[in-house]
Amino acid sequence: MIFPMLHVFLALIASPLLLSVINRTKAFFGGRTGAPILQPYLDIAKLLRKGTVYSRTTTWIFRAAPSVELASVMAALAVTPLGAIPALLPFQGDLVFLAYSLGLMRFFTVSAALDTGSAFCGMGASREVQFSALAEVALLVGLAAAACLFRVFSLTDICRQAWAAGPVSWEGGGTLLLVAASFLVVLLAENSRIPVDDPNTHLELTMIHEVMILDHGGPDLAFIEYAAALKFWILGSLLVSLALPLRFADPLPDLAAGLIGLFFLAVTVGVIESVMARLKLVRVPQLLVVAGVLSFLALFDVMR
């Protein structure tokens, strides 16, 4: 029990750090020093100190959304394992729970964006829904493939077995590799990273995620930023658990390996963001469909 709690605790503490790692990697590739490693924390602290301003056109949905988002992402964190470290509250079928928690989070982000009545927010909401409809298929089908592979129906069990087997050593072939490749695309899309969305863009027309939260401020924005960091941690843990062929008998090195994997993932994302340009918006669905295809392929490979 101590290690699951430790994992959740670490996630709550260290998730903004991952974003910082990504930024530092990009800064390194760009030949810059980059922001201090603790900059995300400073940002959140600054936002928490500020007051909020609400537009008169908004309703309670706009006010409730940040809290609901943070709550749902924390609920998802409760069922997220990291490699051999079980989740805090694992149960049969929690992979569906995970997908729906993230879906609830997105629903409120989108609703709040629509609630503002701003044209830009509405545009961002429309794109977010379009892309996530495809990404969700890839995520769910990929999870289904992994579940079929090990004949278990809980994220904790899936990740423990995948961690034990590893994609290369597992003799059935590349199923896990396919799912991992698919999840990498999902991770990039869901967290608004570069081939899909540019987190640093300053032009509203090209934004997806950032444009939806334009009207939030103060603690609300801090909640949203923090929830986004946690979401990255959650999807990252899943990816690391499925893709990393490491196994120690002892939970402590397991946890350490998982954390190292997560930070390695953050560096990878940073590298991807540095070497790739953003895709044209019309190409994004194709990328996501390809992710879906990978997931489906994995599923068929298991079920043949």
């Binding site: 597992w170 003799e171 059935g172 072939g173 590349g174 396919l178 669905p285 194709q286 469909v289 390809v290 879906g292 295809v293 990978l294 489906f296 392929l297 068929f300 490979d301 079920m303 043949r304």
Partner: protein, 213 residues
């Protein structure tokens, strides 16, 4: 060994999706050639390919399929000055999504067909069927005559895949005849494309629509 085989199969399927989603003619030609190479690699796996002439045979076929036929297609492309864009009847994303459906159908159809014991993976059957369906789809849903030839080559690849995996013990003369026929078919198609291009000033097959009821 089995996992190596699986990875080759998965690569083949992914190449099919690349064919379905590709917007450039060059990409398609590459993918078709690459498929042939992968299938040639399959033959290297030890599963009773004892006689050395079989190796020669497979090597020759792979050479023809991976180098000569794509070369012919490229030549036809160059000589007819065809545009690189594919101009599909159905969009690329839709094609890929339909491809998932085709893949599912292939796995369903292949269920009752159990491969006989002897080292070959069960995935081979659905992959063969899926590759065949991809070829058919390319023939139906793309506009240019060259794409239809490519679709035909993809179909041939699927047959070749199955042939390499199972039917190698069939007499070499038949294999040679098969190869010759495919070669001749592509050759004749190349000539026809040349004529079509000359007659119509382009090779869009939707111009070929005078004859209908």
């Amino acid at each position: 060994m089995q996992s190596f085989l699986d990875i080759l199969m998965i690569l083949l399927v992914l190449l099919n999706f690349r064919l379905l989603g590709a917007s450039q003619l060059g990409t398609c030609v590459h993918s078709v050639a690459f498929q042939a190479v992968i299938i040639g690699l399959l033959a290297l796996l030890p599963h009773g390919l004892a006689p050395s002439w079989t190796w020669l045979m497979v090597g020759a076929v792979t050479l023809v399929k991976a180098v000569v036929l794509p070369g012919l297609v490229r030549r036809a492309m160059r000589e007819t000055g065809v545009m690189q864009e594919l101009e599909p009847f159905l969009g690329y994303t839709v094609s890929v999504i339909l491809g998932v459906g085709l893949l599912a159908a292939s796995f369903l159809v292949a269920r009752p067909l159990r491969v006989p014991a002897g080292g070959m993976t069960q995935v081979l059957v659905p992959v063969t069927i899926f590759t065949m369906l991809t070829g058919l789809y390319l023939i139906i849903a793309r506009r240019k005559a060259i794409t239809q030839v490519l679709g035909f080559l993809v179909m041939e690849n699927s047959i070749y895949l199955f042939g390499v995996a199972f039917a190698v013990e069939e007499s070499w003369l038949v294999q040679a005849g098969v190869l010759l026929d495919v070669f001749a078919a592509v050759f004749v198609m190349g000539i026809m494309i040349y004529h079509i291009n000359r007659e119509f000033d382009n090779i869009d097959t939707d111009r070929l629509s005078d004859l209908k009821d």
